[in-house]
Amino acid sequence: MYNVLEAENVCKSYLNKRALQGANLTIQQGKILGLLGPNGSGKTTFLKIAAGILHPSSGKLLIDGQEPGVYTKSIVSYLPDTEYLFKWMKIKDAVQYFKDFYTDFDEKKAFALLEFMKLDANSSVKSLSKGMKEKLKLTLVLSRKAKLYILDEPLGGVDPTAREKILDAIINNFSEDSSMIITTHLVNDIERIFDDVAFISDGEIVLQGNAEELRLNKNKSIDELYREVFQ
């Protein structure tokens, strides 16, 4: 099976702390991986390295065989945990922006998704609520035909109805020739969409495996397992 992402012993340290200490992880094509861990465990650090906006202190991370750079950015669709859209933008400007910069962006799909999310293309980004912003970001990210989707806390801070919509959009738009990595600490809501899960604690992957096998072997849900690992 072809690995879209391979991380070998990835470390990231800052002056006073080590955010990642030797993370090893692979993601196969066609799979959805859940990267699970509490705040500050190194999830976001790992994703930022894969997205090419953070550089590892040591170790190797390859996406489609290449180190993060201009090429990998063209095949990775990254949903950051920040409000990164320009304040002057209307929703349709944001769509146009993605269309201008990403050749794999599907404008039709974007407008269909906006409709599904009940977002008005003419409203301004500034005026959106937290949940709507999250839906807009997800619309933009999922409208690309990327090889790897990286979603950092797509369910963070949104209400349960929005959560359902977001989950539906993820499932509907996932195709078997792409892969996805999703971080969350709300495991219960989303565990059924993972093929594989990896638990990250203090910058290390402490447990990794196929979700169904883990359920079978441990006779526990992923959520229970998560609680057990992190108490």
Binding site: Y14, L15, K48, A51, G52, I53, L54, H55, G69, V70, Y71, K73, S74, V76, Y78, P80, T82, E83, Y84, L85, F86, W88, Y97, D100, F101, Y102
Partner: protein, 234 residues
């Protein structure tokens, strides 16, 4: 890269329009005072233009700092764009917006002054000299901004944290400016060869320091592009 420039200018649209409108309104106000203030009016118009250039200059610095310190960085630095095109697009956008403000200020000054100063200039200066001096100004803008962007990026990479990074960038800027000026003086005294650029008004340039400026620009441009692509951690 065209798109990068387009979105920078779109983002600064309100700033550019605001500055231009202020310059126009300020000059219109000055025109009503021509009778009473006399010579003070063109001087004030000149000051107004200068102030407008300072404001747009500072705004040009935010073309870089916003992405280094704000969430928008996540948008720019995840685009499949090389450090070179990110750097070049910033410089071009800055040159365009500064030129726009300069043009509007100059035009308003011309109207206010009823074209006297510009007529005088055109009568004495030949076209190619004008082109030289415009190019020289563009060069000054580009090389100065490159130098400043370099300091910002180095400050951002070397020092974590918004405040300390910005202060650090400023310290780096001051230190490097001193070093650069010292080197330039040294070079121009060791290589005293001069070229004359203008034919009528005598304007001479030191060959050594000219080459030094160009080389410095090249190195700083490439270094900043490299750092943007490979070293900036958000």
């Amino acid at each position: 890269m065209f798109h990068l420039i387009k979105y920078e200018l779109r983002g600064k649209l309100l700033t550019i329009l605001g500055i231009c409108l202020s310059v126009i309104i300020g000059n219109l106000f000055l025109m009503t005072k021509v009778e009473s203030w006399q010579i003070g009016v063109p001087v004030l118009s000149g000051f107004l233009g200068g102030a407008a250039l300072v404001v747009i200059g500072i705004s040009s610095l935010t073309l870089m700092s916003d992405y280094l310190y704000e969430d928008q960085g996540y948008l720019l630095f995840t685009l499949p764009q090389s450090g070179t095109s990110i750097m070049a697009s910033r410089l071009i956008a800055a040159v365009i917006q500064i030129s726009l403000v300069a043009l509007v200020s100059a035009a308003m000054f011309g109207v206010l002054d009823q074209g006297r100063l510009f007529n005088a200039i055109f009568n004495q200066v030949e076209l190619h000299e004008l082109v030289y001096s415009i190019l020289l100004h563009l060069w000054t803008i580009v090389s100065t901004l490159t130098f400043m962007y370099f300091c910002m990026v180095v400050g951002r990479i070397a020092l974590k944290g918004k405040k300390i990074g910005k202060i650090g960038s400023f310290v780096i800027f001051v230190l490097l400016s001193i070093a650069k000026a010292g080197l330039a003086v040294g070079i121009s005294s060791s290589f005293p060869q001069m070229v004359q650029i203008h034919s009528v008004t005598t304007m001479t340039m030191n060959v050594g320091s000219m080459i030094f400026d160009i080389v410095t620009f090249g190195i700083l441009f490439m270094a900043t592009s490299y750092l943007l692509e490979h070293k900036v951690d958000l």
